[in-house]
């Protein structure tokens, strides 16, 4: 009967090192020679063309399926094209070919999330004067980040070669997960300093209870379980680019992760992405707040990777399945370990949650589109800006909330009640706005006679 200790010794030599991986190994294929099983699953993010009721990776044009979006985002690049997302393999290609890049000026900041940008940041840092021996430091990433943010997109695009690569999430020697993206580091510092309770991120709660002398740093303090969600928060978050010339990529987390708190962040900063041409209100376009919505849901203690990169048995070894996609395409591994329930029942529950969200989304968009028309009509009838101020503030807030849920990619599943709550607030505000615009129009007409 081999005892346990002896077997442990044998097992350690399982991961045989074929090739040396260092901080300068930017090509995933090289990492793949040491970790063929993970690499095979990673490369499957190239597959697309499969639909789920509300998700999947058929890159269809959402503006055609949801025409109200063109009215809501009129005057902003997203009025040109907004497609269903697909595998990580495509994220550099898709950005390069979108009309939002080809027909509008964009800053280099986009590449923070749309390329394996670690190499470009380091090179740019050295070019900007950082001593070359510091090239592998976090400081290098920071300096390069600042440089590339400020570049026009086309110029920055020439500095990047690959979509998501192993080095974006893993430390070469230990394979430990680490955060490479400066915007998330800054975002987590803001979050840690806010009062928003984050029970699902205990390392932040512990930091808050400490002396707070050293700013919160996930790479030092976050647990392995937290990292299995934080690495996704490098990109799957709401963001904005600061004013020119810096155009720093910022996550609006100074007040917290909830939608009202992000709006407060923008209000405190007097920020608008653009002014809506018909309604005249100062609007923000919200993008994919997966991390923020997931934080409010019943699965906040379940890591993104638990569902989107689940464990898989391949032969005699258990690995992380790097084929990040809709969990509905892999329910057995993504859900059934924790939920001892039949596949079709689990799918039914998800689709029931998403169907409720979709029904509310449609009504909320109807209300926002009506509000835009009501403000425009009042304005044309001579209503003063002062009279339309309330309606425009309600437009800014209600459209922000509809965006927040509609552009989040789980169609409410990551936090079912919170999604419905946010859409309820959006509807209520939009309808109040319509009323206010009507009053302003009536007053203008009365004054006009």
């Amino acid at each position: 009967l081999q005892n346990v200790a002896q077997r442990q010794a044998e097992a350690r030599e399982v991961a045989f090192r074929v090739v040396e991986i260092t901080e300068d190994t930017y090509e995933s294929s090289v990492w793949g020679r040491n970790f063929p099983l993970q690499y095979d699953t990673f490369m499957r993010t190239e597959e697309y063309g499969v639909e789920t009721p509300f998700g999947g990776n058929v890159p269809y044009e959402k503006l055609d399926k949801y025409p109200q979006l063109r009215i809501m985002w009129q005057g902003f690049p997203f009025e040109l094209s907004f497609r269903e997302d697909r595998g990580h393999h495509w994220f550099l290609f898709d950005q390069r070919q979108t009309r939002r890049v080809q027909e509008r000026a964009q800053p280099g900041s986009c590449l923070h999330c749309h390329s394996s940008v670690v190499e470009a940041y380091r090179i740019a840092a050295v070019q900007a004067g950082l001593p070359v021996e510091k090239i592998h430091t976090e400081e290098a990433l920071r300096k390069g980040f600042d440089a590339i943010n400020a570049m026009p997109w086309a110029e920055a695009d020439t500095l990047v070669r690959n979509p998501l690569a192993c080095i974006d999430c893993h430390e070469p020697q230990t394979m430990r997960l680490r955060i490479t993206r400066p915007s998330l580091k800054d975002g987590l510092v803001k979050l840690a300093n806010s009062d928003d309770p984050v029970p699902h991120l205990p390392s932040i709660e512990r930091w808050r209870a400490g002396d707070r002398r050293v700013p919160y740093d996930a790479n030092r303090l976050a647990s392995r379980h937290e990292m299995r969600s934080m690495i996704c928060a490098q990109c799957h978050v709401e963001y904005y680019f600061d004013r020119p010339p810096v155009r720093t990529l910022i996550f609006p987390w100074s007040e917290g992760l909830k939608v009202e708190q992000q709006l407060q962040h923008y209000d405190n900063y007097g920020w608008r992405d653009w002014t809506h041409p018909r309604a005249g209100s100062g609007q923000m376009k919200v993008q994919h707040p997966e991390f923020e919505l997931w934080s409010q849901g019943p699965h906040a203690n379940v890591a993104c990777a638990d569902c989107h990169m689940p464990f898989e048995r391949v032969g005699a070894v258990k690995i992380t399945n790097h084929h990040a996609r809709s969990p509905l395409l892999n329910i057995r591994q993504s859900c059934q370990t924790c939920h001892n329930v039949a596949e079709d029942e689990l799918k039914r529950r998800v689709v029931t949650i998403q169907t409720r969200t979709a029904a509310l989304e449609k009504k909320a968009k109807d209300a926002v589109v009506e509000l835009i028309a009501a403000i425009e009509s009042a304005h044309q009838a001579g209503a003063t800006d002062e009279a339309l101020n309330e309606a425009r503030t309600l437009h800014r807030s209600s459209q922000f909330k509809v965006d927040w849920i509609f552009n989040e990619n789980s169609r409410g599943f990551h936090a079912p009640q919170e999604s419905a709550r946010i859409l309820a607030e959006a509807m209520n505000e939009a309808r109040k706005g319509i009323l206010s615009a009507h009053k302003a129009e009536a007053a203008a007409k009365a004054a006009g006679q």
Binding site: V4, R7, V14, I21, T174, M175, A316, V317, K318
Partner: protein, 164 residues
Amino acid sequence: MRDWLMGGGILLVAALFLGLMAGAGAFTADRAQALSYLSDDPQVCVNCHVMREVHTSWERSSHRNVARCVDCHLPHDPVGKWVGKAIDGWNHSVAFTLQNFHEPIQLKPRGRAIVEQNCVNCHIDLVHGIVHARTGAGAHASLPAGKRSGISCLHCHLDVGHGQ
């Protein structure tokens, strides 16, 4: 194996165990067939009705043919096993006598760490890659499951021992 336990070199350990129990549970220990507590047979645990439910659920679990109670709930290394038995024996008889334990019974941190380490002990070949993703020359000593390696098997596999 059962007979060997009853007859042979067990007296020394039984003395240690009985010593621990001497204070409060002399009479209790006897009536609860404390001596049998020293064996690895799951039937031992079900002497107490409060263990009946976990025994039944174990009999329906995926591990019924591959792991007995002690295989998960007592350290595998020889020394750790008997120290564990002594500590558990003491906790058990105190809790059983005073009836002051939290219900439903939940694994305490010590109990949970033992179980987590045992998952890795038996499944090391399968989970070596995810437990301690260490590579390259000079790999650190393999980190045990639980606190230090940061991965908790029970985060996903809570029901392997007792179904539900």
